[in-house]
């Protein structure tokens, strides 16, 4: 594939493959950046530039201020949109003003929730059953993906507790667990996530930070393309980065489409509404 081919075809190939972004954010970016998307309209403009057709989005308010308020803000943003599905934030029952947790999850699914995120490190809670058991059981029962940011299991640089992901995946074998690679650590974690992927069928990785040389091809060869999810990580990453990674991956066209949109759509369709 020559450079001139890449330049001329980049635009076309995006549209042929069809991309669904499994991980991006709106709201005022609390991290220093050259860009952010205050609301869904601004995100749509950026998505259109890159021919990204749909997205699973989260709101910074739910992460950095308050899950309840942030979730409601996101729900309002995406209510009328056909392009967006919500990834809302959860905490242990009784630790936020959300009433009965089963009722709350029901309500959010009606408000287009198709995945939930947790931040046990930053929001200070345990993942043990005495704390999050009810939540995780409900998510498993309804096959609602749980997104687990990598930075939430890295207690300090060079101390990684991927064991947490493994234990979760074994306790809740039918719960789709998506590891969000946000943060610098994923680059050096291949000795963790390769065996993990081989042993835990319900663990998936998104790709916006899966930047180790050749690792996507390695994962596809070892466990299959069905375990990888296209994501841009906007506004943390330039969407062109992840797009190029998939477009030029040394895998089959069918595998590219699985990663680009097929896998996330399969997971979201599996949610018991």
């Amino acid at each position: 594939m020559t450079f001139s081919f890449l330049m001329e075809k980049f635009s076309d190939l995006k549209r042929e493959i069809h991309f669904f972004d499994a991980n991006c954010w709106i709201g005022e970016n609390p991290f220093p950046s050259f860009k952010h998307f205050n609301n869904s309209s601004e995100l749509i403009i950026e998505m259109d530039k890159y021919a990204i057709e749909e997205a699973l989005i989260s709101h910074f308010l739910a992460w950095k201020y308050n899950p309840f308020i942030g979730n409601n803000t996101l729900a309002d943003e995406i209510r009328e949109s056909e392009k967006f599905y919500g990834c809302y934030v959860l905490v242990p029952p009784g630790t936020e003003k959300i009433g009965d947790i089963k009722g709350y999850i029901d309500e959010m699914v009606k408000k287009k929730a198709r995945a939930f995120r947790i931040f046990p490190l930053e929001h200070h809670f345990s993942l043990a059953d005495w704390s999050m058991g009810k939540v995780l059981s409900i998510l498993e029962d309804r096959r609602i993906p749980l997104i687990f940011p990598l930075g939430q299991i890295t207690w300090a640089f060079n101390q990684v507790h991927w064991d947490v992901i493994y234990e979760l995946s074994q306790r809740y074998k039918r719960l789709p667990i998506i590891v969000d690679g946000y943060g610098p650590q994923e680059l050096t974690q291949s000795r963790f996530f390769l065996p993990l992927l081989e042993n835990c069928e319900n663990v998936y990785l998104d790709i916006h930070n899966l930047i180790l040389y050749g690792i996507i091809e390695e994962i596809v060869n070892r466990v299959g393309a069905h375990r990888l999810l296209f994501s841009t990580g906007m506004p943390f990453n330039n969407p062109g980065a992840s797009l190029m990674r998939v477009i030029t991956a040394q895998i089959s066209d069918e595998e590219k489409k699985q990663i680009a949109h097929g896998n996330i759509k399969r997971l979201l369709k599996g949610v018991r509404i």
Binding site: F3, F34, A51, I211, G214, M234, F236, N238, G240
Partner: protein, 269 residues
């Protein structure tokens, strides 16, 4: 994506130079297909003509072993991979022996320093022999640069601000700030530094793909001082290629960043 790409055909002779790569292994992680043959295959697949490479062993553990391995790899690559000599300030005699190869062989084109890994600042006295040699013989020096990081404090040794004194004292030495500071705050400082000193160049490799970064750097500096790099074999080159190809800058500037500038800066054959 810059839609003008479809309207302005890039000449087939556009040379793409990845100005920041490595060969070898890293103890921190398993790197699949790390052999030079696979490396070249990926270059072919993506249309990358030349990679400028510092061997990881030379940086991290053994100057001799690393440089000798790189020479073997460069022979296999038949001119597609050209070398950075690594200067380790704690082994100045050994290092200078290798630095002098830059004048003797066409394989080595510049020197690489890694103040963070070697835990020593670029403006420290132990680097003086290198700066003086580089000034005398017009040898570019590329350095790892990064932002302050409380979780990884050795990065403090590589902050862009430390290069001000060096750029001032050795104005004839082309100093290429690898990673352009690595993170948002240090990106800003690296750009500010490059605005002050015309012998500072910014290279964009690393794990930072901030939206708007490429456009920001292009808006602040003449495009001749911006270089594409990937940090390949750590980082897959496609992420940075995608960032630059899709940046909202002209085709002409993309061509400069993606290859023309490296050819000029490093005087590549």
């Amino acid at each position: 994506m810059n839609e003008s790409a479809g309207k302005n055909k890039i000449p087939n002779d556009t040379t793409v130079v990845d100005a920041h790569t490595h060969l070898g292994y890293a103890p921190e992680m398993y790197i699949p297909n790390a052999e030079v043959e696979q490396f070249i295959k990926l270059m072919d697949h993506l249309g990358i003509d030349i990679c400028l490479c510092a061997h990881l062993a030379a940086i991290q553990s053994s100057l001799d072993y690393g440089h000798k391995q790189l020479i073997e790899d460069m022979k296999i690559a038949k001119g597609r991979i050209l070398g950075f000599v690594v200067f380790n300030p704690h082994y100045p005699t050994e290092s200078m022996k290798w630095v002098k190869q830059c004048k003797r062989t066409p394989y080595f084109v510049a020197v690489k320093i890694h103040p963070a890994w070697h835990r020593y600042p670029p403006n420290g006295s132990k680097y003086q022999p290198l700066w003086e040699y580089a000034a005398e013989f017009n040898i570019p020096v590329m350095s790892h640069t990064w932002d302050y990081d409380p979780q990884n404090p050795v990065q403090d040794f590589s902050h862009p601000s430390l290069f001000a004194e060096v750029a001032e004292k050795y104005p004839s030495v082309k100093i290429i700030l690898g990673h352009a500071g690595g993170r948002y705050n240090a990106h800003i400082e690296a750009v500010d530094l490059a605005q002050q000193y015309s012998n500072i160049y910014l290279e964009l490799a690393g794990d930072s793909f901030l939206p708007g970064l490429v456009e920001y750097v292009v808006s602040k500096l003449e495009p001749e001082r911006i270089l594409y790099g990937s940090d390949m074999i750590w980082i897959d080159p496609r992420y940075h290629l995608g960032s630059i190809l899709s940046a909202n800058i002209t085709l002409e500037v993309k061509q400069k960043i993606l290859g023309e500038n490296a050819i000029e800066v490093y005087k590549l054959p």
